[in-house]
Amino acid sequence: MARIGVFVCHCGENISATVDVARVASEAAKIPGVVHSVDYKYMCSDPGQQLVKAAIQEKGLTGVVVAACSPRMHEPTFRRACAEAGLNPFLCEMANIREHCSWVHEKGEATTHKAIDIVRTLVAKVKKNRALQPIKVPVTKTALVLGGGIAGIQAALDIANAGHKVILVEKEPSIGGHMSQLSETFPTLDCSQCILTPRMVEVAQHPNITLHSYSELEGLDGFIGNFKARIRRKARSLDEKLCTGCGLCTQKCPLRRIPSEFDAGLGLRPAIYVPFPQAVPNKPVIDREHCTYYRTGKCRLCEKVCPTQAIRFDQPDEIVEADVGAVVVATGFDIKHADFFPEYGYGKYKDVIDGLQFERLASASGPTLGEIRRPSDGKVPETVAFIACAGSRDPAKGIEYCSKICCMYTAKHAMLYRHKVHHGRPVVFYMDIRAGGKMYEEFVRRAMEEDGVQYVRGRVSRIYERGGKLVVKGADTLLGARPVELEADLVVLATAGVAQPGAEDLAQRLHVSYDAHRFYAEAHPKLRPVETNTAGIFLAGACQAPKDIPESVAQASGAAAKVGALFSQSELVREPLIAVVDRQAPPVYSSCSGCFLCQGACPYQAIKREEIRGRDGQLIKTVAKVNPGLCQGCGTCVALCRSKSIDIQGYSHEQVYSEVLALLNRGERDG
């Protein structure tokens, strides 16, 4: 006979404000099989959990239903409490009467009635629950880090220093990400290359880290602790072991005028190139799209001059397989470019540039060797307009969020401009200054007060070219919304930070969910920022949302700590919510009739064929068998099986059947 305990939570008054919790408890007590039914102000608090433990021991409960918040919140909490009191955790269910009831309905009879329905549904389910033991699964103690920006580098180093193997995959020819493109970084103005390059070298030389640069993730199968990654090493068209990185080929290549991605289109590069001097690995790659050989079969000059004959024109892509136990996604972000803005001329004005392009102008290794010059005529600009919130916080452009870092780098840009062009006049058009980090506000204050940067609070409505100058039409809302018209020589747009192109393809390959702006979705915005809903896959850096370097590094170390925790046990404990095929005593052995339609439908190839033989070795029948290590518990096979010979623990036929009838108040007569 079932002995069920029901515990109805007030959740302070989040539930009791619209649901008559006392009545829910008293009605629950009438349900056959319920022997204990109470309500309490804070079930998830220690005294609340103590109520559950005491009731289990005193009344010998065989099942617990906690009517409170969503199981996605506190199911683990109450299952742990039950386990501590000696009741198998999988005999505890949560009835969601907060998110699905008290918060979304008005106070009244219908709301309380619905709460009672929900409790009755879960009581019916818990009666059919069975005690389950967790599954033990081996853990491969190698981590896969996707993305070689500062976040990926930090995560890789932390995991490697914890003594685990790391595979770092970077899409570009060199690691470094957007940080390597920066000139100096706020708030300390120390040179980006100086603080980044040592870390990049450390990655290259770390014995635990295998670096696959100019490579992308082809596919990922398996599950936490047992992923199988397929990495595509794109052909660099040269043998990396032979190449010494002398750079002769890059000097001799006849094609010199290809826009350099690293210089954000302002600088030029040859067809065989190293993105930037401090690149790691410091080996060139042939750009097959522009290289003459790949278009006309001629030239091959680089091959002739190469002292170690390292050039391999017909080198194919290579697929590398790797077993990994955890994945840290640190693929970074992208920014909108000038051509995105109709009111700023759709990118037709050469002197309207974006933040990254200004970084390249200001960078010593940039196309202008650090001098601020106009891309159109190379002159030093007398007046520079900096426009903050270009695209960000603009619902009409589909980007309602704030990109968080632009206020800081705009102040930095204005400051750098003043340091390089003393008589120059920087004018920043802004809406609000967001300088919330450590030493951030002081940094912006310094730009205003010591470096004479003029801040005009108002949005720029239009930019157009007149007489060689860029007319910036804005307003100054602090001076009575007076229209402002500034003739600038250069305009720098602090454009919105957006997700990488192709972010959703990678998400679908990893089975990670993403939000409307294609940033990857964290498991919980406040409490689990570096985890995803897919066990074993973690997040770090701007791929989760725009953020600055300190935050990206902190997240990377956080993700690395999570991986460390995962790798600290030799075995992984997994929820036993998996499918099981019916087995019976001989002569039937199983109700499965061996049609194996389930096998084809399983996304994890978790269903195998098992031959059942008599003692004489005679084959009696071939039936399905689920590999508990691979099955992820989706239940598709269960709903496909015509003879109901396969069932899933936690959502079994009996459980869901009884839930449907209980919800409609047609439960069975028995207790």
């Binding site: 109709p342 009111e343 759709y346 009409a396 239009r462 930019i463 157009y464 007149r466 007319v471």
Partner: protein, 311 residues
Amino acid sequence: MKTGFYPGCSMKGSAREYSESLLAVARELGRELPEVPDWNCCGATAAHNLDRDLALALPARILAAAERQGMAEVLVPCAACYSRLSVTRHELLEDEELRRRISALVAADYRGSARVLNIIEWLEAVPDLEARVRAPFARKVACYYGCLLVRPAGIVKFDRPEDPQSLDRLMRRLGAEPIDWAFKTECCGAGFSVSRTDLVAELSGRILEDAVSRGAEAVIVACPMCHLNLDMRRPNIEKRAGRKFRIPVIYVTQAVGLAMGLKTKALGLQRHKVSPSALLAPASVQPAAGATSASGDSPAGAGSPAGERRP
């Protein structure tokens, strides 16, 4: 498909030439434009500042009348009326309860079936426009859209709100050469024409200044209020700017009429304050790109006598 015509107050009053040129062009194209019977004021800028229901009821009554006549779409040449009718149709289709209440208010069941067309959409729909051009409008023109033709962008959904191209494309089909300028949708001063003429002088002045500096020989408009400020307020503009602006301001329908060789009288060109005579002089040999002087001046009275039908 039957297309109705809602003139609105200005087409019968200060902008008669817009209506005259439209009907002349329509006759030439053989497309009849039956007026919406018993039409009333659209509420323009006044109504929605006073009372929301009034601002919705006035246009709803017009559109309901059009629907009763079986009109599938209604051409609304004036940009202000176009904006009011479009907004009303949008709001009443979004909110069933509001639609019922406003229909009751105007004692007419407004369904929202009739689409609201602006003048450019109506002209764009003429398939053989190029074939009907007898005298190409070979001039550098500044296409001025004003604000109400392309906004509120979410509701009107016509062309690109920041940098529209539809009028430019239309003028190119007539042989004109539109200039690339940034004042297409900058405010001309609109309703301040009477109360703050100084503001209009400044704002409209800037528009003309930029158009002239880029070599435009005419400003093409599609809204009576823009025409009022750019043309009739020319003395105020010139006084404030301290210089003369000879550049004429004509309606797009007048430009189409001229290109189709219609008589200037039929197009009401004589009603403008700033004489468009410069446009009537035969275009110089090569296309007008910069041929005539920047300000497009020509001694008053020169050019072919008005009224003569172009060869």
